[in-house]
Amino acid sequence: MELWKVAFLAVIFTGLVIGWVFGPLLGLVVIVVVLVLIEAFPFRKSRPKASKKKLRP
């Protein structure tokens, strides 16, 4: 499964738990805010560091 699907599901279920405990409107707000943040600042793979070894001719 793709990483974004896992992330979306994790956020949604966290929102459900928060909604269950603290009220459905707060759960909804958490889901909306965190999903928007994920999309605005997507996780990126860090670039591999340049190798110090010299290339062979």
């Binding site: 499964m1 793709e2 699907k5 599901l9 949604i12 459900l16 909604g19 909804l28 999903l35 994920i38």
Partner: protein, 350 residues
């Protein structure tokens, strides 16, 4: 808890099958990627379910199958030690929750089977048929304890709902056709093609979000309505959140197949037609949500696509595909009614 579990399963099935209706035109027109479509769908469907899902929940849970004599029903509930919140009225499913389980299980089974076959069938048809099937089982051969309160089927409500099922695709076709012509005239003056495409793409994204909101508000009642029937007085907003999360899960994990069927195989959509299709469908579903009537977002979405396709002439619409989908729509309530009747009999031990 079992009813809640199957309601989640039902919501998941709705997300897999019907959520595609909200985003298929956008993805089919290549305006949104699948990932971004799922993000918008999750946000707006859950928002619709929490904020306005209670209307349809009330209709599905309390208006299709109910007691003729509510006072007698309350006495039966007292005699069976079923505690009800203040002001909550028991339904036949409150007293026999296993029948509610049969109803929602029957609807869920059919939706999942249809999804496997790639058919965008209606969960609204499925659940209304299933609730009626379980209601018939309780009315004709149900536990004798219920006889005193008189189990009733809301035939007039069913006729109203069935009529709305006919109006929904026709309304979406008409709205989509009119919206296309109304929006096309002023936008035709824009000569810059890139700017025009940007305008249409923005409009498509806005209307897709509106459709997702309407979908959440209308369809969550299909999953959570039976829970309301089994547990009257439950917090409808919390049930909306629960149902919305179930829908979002189904959409994220399993909706790509139906997105493909609606967005690409019925008629190929350009941004202008995608906007008209989406807006026509969303408007139709929202109007019925405000009337607390569970309509099919599948009907609305396919109607919207057909209405937009008609702009290019009837040859743009794949007639064979539409006929096949229409047949599935007609038989859905009958199939779920039969399954639910059988399951209710089996589970109540009649």
């Amino acid at each position: 808890m079992a009813v809640l579990g199957v309601a989640f399963f039902m919501g998941w099935g709705m997300g897999a099958n019907d959520a595609a209706n909200s985003m298929a035109t956008s993805v089919g027109a290549r305006i949104l990627t699948l990932r971004r479509a799922m993000l918008l769908l999750a946000i707006f469907a859950i928002a619709g379910a929490v904020l306005q899902g209670g209307y349809v929940m009330h209709t599905v849970g309390e208006k299709i199958v109910f007691f003729e004599n509510e006072n007698a029903a309350e006495n039966i509930a007292l005699a069976e030690n079923i505690s009800l919140p203040a002001g909550a009225k028991p339904t036949p499913f409150t007293l026999v929750p296993i029948a509610a389980l049969g109803a929602i299980l029957a609807a869920a089974i059919w939706v999942i089977v249809a999804t496997r076959l790639g058919l965008p069938v209606s969960t609204s048809h499925s659940i209304v048929g299933a609730v009626m099937g379980a209601g018939f089982a309780l009315m004709f051969i149900g536990p004798p304890a219920l006889a005193g309160a008189g189990v009733q089927i809301g035939y007039s409500k069913f006729v109203q709902i069935a009529f709305s099922w006919i109006i929904t695709p026709i309304g979406a076709i008409a709205f989509a056709y009119l919206i296309y012509h109304a929006s096309n005239r002023p936008l035709r003056r824009v000569k810059n093609i890139a700017l025009l495409n940007t305008i249409y793409s923005t409009l498509v994204i806005i209307t897709a979000s509106f459709m997702a909101y309407s979908f959440g508000a209308n369809d969550v009642g299909n999953a959570a309505g039976v829970v309301v029937a089994a547990c009257p007085g439950a917090d409808k907003q919390l049930l909306g959140l629960f149902g919305g999360v179930a829908i979002a899960c189904g959409a994220i994990l399993y909706s790509q197949r139906v997105i493909d069927t609606i967005g690409k195989r019925i008629t190929v959509l350009a941004p202008a037609t995608a906007f008209a299709a989406q807006f026509g469908a969303a408007l139709t579903v929202y109007i019925f949500t405000m009337l607390a009537i569970p309509v099919s977002t599948s009907h609305a979405a396919v109607g919207g696509v057909i209405g937009a396709g008609l702009v290019r002439g009837t040859s743009a619409v794949s007639g064979r595909r539409v006929r096949w989908i229409s047949l599935a729509w007609v038989f859905t309530p009958l199939i779920t009614m039969a399954i639910s009747f059988g399951l209710a009999m089996l589970l109540t031990g009649v």
